[in-house]
Symmetry: C2
Subunit: 109 residues, 2 copies
């Protein structure tokens, strides 16, 4: 993962998974690593098109690609998705905390 | 929220929170509703610039804005963030399930 600030990194992750093709790739890779060619097959897209999507996912740190011999293989890098889930979880927790405070206030008054 | 397909809606939500200014607005609104003017203050941005960001958040269903008299007020719409968190959670669960299966396979062999 390139050395970006935490906020910028989070932006790249959310941008990467904002695209339905890239989310389909993630949904495939959480089931296990796959070769680029195997990823491209169900996507009805040119190989260069798929490569571009993989590049966005790799730049965001969501996946890692590795070339072994003539085959480029991809796998998920779980830390990035965990970071995105963590930010969303913190927003939910904060909101629930605020609602609890409001609840306490209404009970007291 | 406009009537989009689930996948498109998820894309709009992730796109909306991919921007650091929009995430700052969400972080503020999970603490409670706020007027547009109050939201704009800490952002060091023109009011039209802030309004554009609010529009993206509203189109994605992440926030709701309401005009009461001369004041436009914003509040979080928790369902959208929950949907995004849900998708990320499903990817994590699927990955853990796959790792458990691999673990079982390795123990058996």
């Amino acid at each position: 993962m390139p050395n970006h600030s935490a906020s910028d990194r989070l932006g790249r992750i959310f941008h990467a998974i904002a695209d339905p093709t890239r989310r389909a790739i993630v949904e495939r890779l959480v089931r296990g690593p796959a070769a680029v060619k195997a990823l491209a097959e169900p996507l009805e897209m040119s190989l260069p098109g798929v490569m571009q999507h993989l590049q966005v996912l790799e730049d965001a740190g969501v996946i890692v690609t590795e070339k072994v011999g003539r085959v480029r293989s991809c796998r998920i890098e779980p830390a990035a998705l965990r970071e995105a889930e963590g930010w969303l979880g913190r927003q939910r927790t904060e909101r629930e905390r605020q609602l609890d405070q409001l609840d306490d206030y209404l009970k007291e008054s």
